[in-house]
């Protein structure tokens, strides 16, 4: 009996030890999924801009590392099944980056980013834990992605709705966490305007980077 209890405690400790690394990697995948889609939309907007493609490839490498981390750190068959699917999506993105920059591919990468988020959310639900800072950064990046998608007229109606929803989410989350962050957010909030006349991707991008840095400092 004692041996059984000892074994159970050992396995439980292993499980508890594994969780933070897995969760962190899973949250990172969520963030990267949005970042890759966002960077691709910037690339689609300015195809001759040399910095976005290396950034996308770097994000893809980080995504691979995160997937490996989760795979090593978890023994759950369900999670491994999800990882298979996520890995497949990652390969699809890699193929897409080798292809020409096009509206069709921009639409595809938006879909892939949603697929990755759904998969990771399932993992996080099974682990029953989320990291607030990562979630906030993920939402900020999602906001940037949706802003670009709306202005580049990619599924405009759905993405406009999602943009407003995400603005609300960021509003709620920043309100909860820190006053300075909330003030900064309020300074920048008006920039996420879906009106075509006020398309300011560079300034919006500066704002998102600034907010992300503020979140990192929390």
């Amino acid at each position: 009996m004692k041996r059984v209890v000892a074994l159970f405690l050992f396995l439980l400790s292993l499980h508890l030890h594994a969780q933070p690394v897995t969760i962190q990697a899973a949250e990172d995948i969520k963030y990267l999924s949005q970042k890759m889609a966002n960077d691709y939309l910037f690339l689609f907007y300015k195809p001759d801009h040399f910095k976005y493609l290396p950034m996308l490839k770097k994000s893809l490498q980080q995504l691979e590392t995160d997937l490996r981390t989760i795979a090593k750190d978890t023994q759950s068959e369900d999670i491994h099944a999800i990882l298979d699917y996520l890995s497949y999506t990652k390969d699809e993105i890699a193929d897409l980056l080798e292809d020409d920059i096009s509206e069709e591919n921009a639409q595809k990468i938006l879909d892939f980013s949603n697929t990755l988020v759904e998969g990771v959310d399932n993992i996080l639900e099974s682990l029953q834990q989320r990291l607030f800072k990562y979630e906030l950064k993920y939402n900020l990046m999602k906001l940037s992605k949706l802003y670009m998608a709306v202005h580049l007229k990619l599924e405009e109606t759905d993405n406009t709705k999602a943009l407003y929803d995400t603005i609300q989410t960021v509003e709620r989350k920043t309100q909860k966490v820190d006053r300075d962050l909330y003030v900064s957010w309020h300074t920048y909030k008006r920039l996420f305007n879906p009106t075509p006349l006020y398309f300011i991707p560079h300034l919006m991008s500066i704002a998102v980077e600034d907010l992300e840095e503020s979140v990192d400092k929390l």
Partner: protein, 572 residues
């Protein structure tokens, strides 16, 4: 074959035109290179004027932002400097006629500058019109556009120097966007004015034009290390990111944490660094000896053009050689007959009768004959075309001069019509061929002279003997062809040739030699060969030649060539 040749000629012409165009372009570029001093100095003058005007714009932005609460004297000094720079530019443009057009395109600048300055003097609030619409769009941008235009021209002229100009252009662009941003934001910071969404759109427009200068195209050049030290792209980007964030944070309400002076100073660090690199590169460009540059592009294009020209001439010559020999001779000697040849193609196959008439001539050329023999149309579909009889007068004196050509043997020379003669020969064989169930196709060249001088009877006998041999030796359902051609024609002579193709018989080489010589061999002759020996002898007598080609599968082809004198009427 002809069509392929024609296609090749067309391709060669097109390619030649293409290389003419390329050579012209390369020559124009070479001309620019030859006058590079003129244009490089122009770039220097433009660059100086742009810098001066950008300084004036920045001072103006501060003056307006502070609502005139700064030293106006400072602004006035800067205005003087820009006037001076512009004056230098205009005097340079006036110094050369080639630059007159550029001068004309800048004629509005003085007027615009005077107008915008008067508005600044009264501290007009319309900063967008003053800073963007006038100072940038109407004053600086045309100068910058022209600078880019000449940079592009010079970079296109010679590939080896292109990276210098591309980099110079990139540096100039970056300085321009930095200056635009600097003056616009300086105004907002000086005025502590919030940025509305349209203001943010103006800022965004400037950022959208910005490109961090890339100096890597010069990485293989010695100047690269000098530029790399000055232009540190990462540092430029980091500085800009921090500054822009600071400004953007206060843009909502005008509570900027950054002073205008601080903003100007920090952005100026970027501008100075890039300007230093720009000047270094410009000095280097000035030091290049453009005139010693070999216009490789021009030479290559001219080389290709000349090569194609050579090919073109060769193809044209080849095309001429592909035309049938007798046609070429006819074209040269007898234009009337050429017309007949052209028209006979149109009417070919429209008549199916053989008319033995003094007023007709049967028209067909050797190539068409072969085509017909291979194709569906029977050779007997021969066009009959009327020919006009000519009144002829003897030119006896001339003929007498040629008496030496008359055969040494007993030759009875008479005037006769070769066409009539051959019709006479052929007529009975049409009937014989029908009886023997043999297809007999013949063609008489209409270009044969109307009247010739020669031994009519001997020629008739030769043709009759050979044709008789061919018809007799040919088995039923086979085809015997006879072509009578005027293969060459001079003013007083004509070369008559008739060829008879017998598909069945075979004559060995040795036998052919005897026939040609007209000598009877010692052995017993095969049936009909007696006639051939006789024909061979007669051919020799009339000074002609008899050739034979014979093989077991295709039979034998007899080709007789006889030179005849042409009958020339005295009125000619």
């Amino acid at each position: 074959m002809k069509r392929i040749n024609q296609l090749l000629i067309s391709i060669a012409i097109l390619l030649s035109l293409f290389f003419v165009y390329r050579s012209y372009q390369a020559y124009k570029n070479y001309q620019i290179i030859q006058q590079s001093d003129l244009y490089v100095h122009l770039l220097g003058n433009l660059q100086k004027s742009i810098h001066a005007l950008e300084s004036e714009r920045l001072s103006t932005a501060l003056y307006l932002g502070y609502k005139g609460n700064t030293n106006f004297g400072q602004l006035a000094n800067i205005r003087e400097k820009s006037d001076q720079a512009l004056q230098e530019l205009f005097s340079y443009l006036s110094s050369n006629e080639k630059l007159a057009d550029i001068k004309a395109s800048f004629s509005h600048i003085h007027e615009d500058l005077r107008y915008v300055r008067s508005r600044v003097d009264v501290i007009n609030d319309d900063y967008k019109t003053i800073l963007i619409d006038y100072y940038h769009t109407k004053i600086v941008a045309p100068l910058l556009k022209d600078l880019h235009h000449w940079v592009n021209k010079l970079s296109l002229s010679v590939e080896t120097i292109a990276p210098y100009f591309h980099t110079y252009k990139a540096l100039t662009n970056f300085i321009d966007t930095q200056n635009q941003e600097q003056s616009f934001i300086a105004y907002k910071l000086a005025a502590y004015q919030e940025m509305t969404m349209p203001d943010l759109v103006i800022w965004e427009t400037i950022l959208n034009q910005e490109e961090i200068p890339d100096i890597t195209p010069l990485s293989q050049k010695p100047i690269y290390h000098l530029l790399d030290k000055t232009v540190q792209t990462k540092l430029l980007e980091e500085r800009l990111t921090t500054l822009r964030r600071n400004v953007l944070r206060g843009s909502n309400n005008g509570n900027y944490t950054l002073q205008a002076a601080s903003w100007i100073a920090q952005i100026q660090q970027n501008i100075d660094a890039v300007q230093e690199a720009q000047q270094t590169l410009f000095d280097y460009i000035k030091s290049l000896d453009f005139k010693s540059i070999v216009p490789v592009k021009l030479y290559i294009n001219i080389g290709f053009f000349l090569l194609l020209l050579g090919i073109l001439f060769w193809l044209i010559k080849r095309q001429q050689n592909l035309r049938p020999i007798h046609k070429r001779i006819l074209d040269e000697d007898n234009p009337d007959i050429k017309i007949k040849h052209d028209t006979d193609i149109e009417t070919l196959g429209t008549q199916n009768t053989l008319v033995a008439n003094n007023e007709t001539a049967i028209l067909i050329d050797s190539e068409e004959l072969l085509e017909l023999a291979d194709g569906d149309l029977p050779l007997t579909n021969i066009t009959v075309s009327p020919t006009k009889p000519k009144t002829v007068v003897k030119k006896e004196e001339k003929i007498k001069e040629d008496q030496e050509v008359i055969q040494k043997v007993q030759i009875k020379e008479t005037n006769f019509s070769p066409i009539e003669l051959f019709k006479e020969v052929i007529k009975p064989f049409i009937y014989i061929a029908q009886q023997r169930n043999i297809a007999f196709h013949y063609a008489i060249d209409p270009s044969l002279p109307q009247v010739c001088i020669g031994d009519r009877e001997k020629i008739k006998e030769i043709a009759t003997l050979i044709l008789n041999y061919a018809i007799q030796s040919t088995s039923s359902r086979k085809t015997v062809t006879m072509k009578i051609e005027n293969v060459a024609q001079k003013k007083f002579e004509t070369a008559l040739s008739f060829r008879i193709k017998d598909p069945s018989s075979y004559i060995p080489k040795e036998e052919q030699r005897h026939i040609r010589k007209g000598e009877k061999p010692a052995h017993i002759l095969p049936s009909g060969h007696e006639d051939l020996f006789k024909a061979g002898k007669l051919v020799k007598q009339v000074g002609g030649s008899l050739r034979m080609e014979s093989d077991r599968s295709n039979g034998t082809e007899f080709a007789v060539s006889i030179n005849l004198k042409r009958f020339i009427p005295t009125d000619q």
